[in-house]
């Protein structure tokens, strides 16, 4: 009756899965953001392409494979547990809804970020698929840096973000990421039980900082490329 699996898939277990995988994804996104910063170096994508080359070839290409497999699993657990919490279980627990609902305010943390988690989360999931398709599973032109032939990912990125529609869509999605993190970041700690009345003040402020930092960090890039990068000197097909 009371097995390990029933504990893991209990109401508390599901939240612990969502929270822990969420924090792992925050870690991944932080590294991704740091890597992206190389795009701001005005070297025609040299540093960015070299970074991508390093990722693809580290430990004979095993590193990236291991990370991709891990990420896929983390995304999977995060999505399945979160959708169960915020969609299926939620609907089962209140079959007849209220005619009128007002937020209580005061100490409540309920707001647009918390109530839209399922919307922002699923949007981000769709985005990740399109994003990977757009930049990973596409034909990359070749470029030679430091005598090594490597994929010119930089040219692909610049070509994409020079289209206002794509740059605009990225800005919108990164806004959603900010919303998701505004609730998700502190909520993860609460879900793992790492919270109390004093810590919550710090964690909520940290969530605000992380949300703004990540959203602005990511949406600055397409805007920077759209407005400030000259495509005629990008790429590097020299």
């Amino acid at each position: 009756m009371s097995t390990f699996r029933s504990h893991v898939w209990s109401s508390v277990g599901k939240k612990m899965i969502t929270g822990s995988t969420g924090l792992m994804l925050v870690g991944f996104v932080a590294v991704h953001l740091l890597g992206n910063l190389t795009l701001f170096i005005p070297d025609r994508g040299h540093a960015f392409n070299a970074y991508a080359y390093f990722l693809e070839h580290a430990v004979h290409g095993w590193l990236i494979l291991a990370f991709e497999a891990g990420l896929l699993a983390v995304f999977g657990f995060h999505i399945v547990s979160a959708v169960t919490v915020a969609w299926t279980d939620k609907r089962k627990a209140r079959p007849v809804g209220y005619a009128l609902v007002r937020n209580a305010g005061g100490k409540s943390r309920k707001g647009l970020p918390s109530t839209s988690m399922i919307v922002t989360g699923l949007s981000l999931a769709v985005f990740v698929i399109l994003h990977v398709k757009m930049f990973k599973f596409t034909d990359h032109p070749a470029v030679v840096h430091d005598g090594k032939e490597m994929k010119d990912l930089y040219a692909v990125v610049v070509a994409a973000f020079k289209q206002p529609l794509i740059a605009g869509a990225y800005v919108a999605v990164m806004g959603m990421l900010g919303f998701h993190l505004r609730h998700g970041f502190w909520s993860a700690f609460q879900s793992l039980g790492w919270n109390n009345d004093r810590a919550i003040v710090v964690l909520e402020n940290l969530a605000r900082v992380v949300a703004v930092l990540f959203a602005v960090g990511f949406l600055a890039l397409p805007l920077y490329i759209l407005f400030f990068v000259d495509p005629s000197v990008s790429g590097g097909h020299r």
Binding site: S2, T84, N195
Partner: protein
Amino acid sequence: MSEMTIHLKIWRQARGETKDSQKSQGRFVDYTVEKVLPEMSFLETLDLLNEKLTRQGQQPVEFDSDCREGICGTCGLVIKGTAHGPNPKTTTCEVRMRHFRDGETITVEPFRAGPFPILKDLVVDRTAFDRIQQQGGFVTANVGSAPDSNAVPIPKLDADKAMDAASCIGCGACVAACPNASASLFVGAKISQLSYLPQGGPERGRRALLMIGQMDREGFGDCSNHGECEAVCPKEISIENIARMRREFFKGALGGHDRKAATGD
């Protein structure tokens, strides 16, 4: 005192309408109550309405109440979209008519959750809470003479935190207000309360596993940390008790010495 006219939009539902199918057959019925005084309580306004309905030979609106001073946890309505009404730190019976405008229309609904089936009108069955408590919301002890006070030293902060959690009156407003209809604040308070005290120590693990197991079996939703429960709680129970409940569960699931007793394996 100026008399007020209050329009009420009240959920009416006959007995047994939702016993089997979860689809509600209830409906809203509009009523107007005249000669309402600002110092009257909201429940007294319902009493006034019921006197009128009874005189007219109609079925009165059924609702729960007992102490009418905010300590028993029996009353509970969703008034104007908020459990226990628009003011914080109050139960339904403590809501006064001076908080409403003359001529205002007030929507009144029962606490809505699958595990709280509607018995009639605004009365819901909250025995799910009792069944959760019966799983472990107590300390198993041999009865005997009462121990001397302070025979067991308890740090002041722990005693305060235990008392804060123990102030839960089990009204169910946390469930009513939760967007997911989760009972985590109630169960968190009950588990935390005993976890702070040495007497609760020996049964910590099994208590958390059994009570949370029962909470899930009753069909309550999962907590998404909206914190709406803390805002409507008449006793201001903090959601830190939910975090603590999760720690207790984690330790219990990893298996303390008392896990065997809980699982029977």
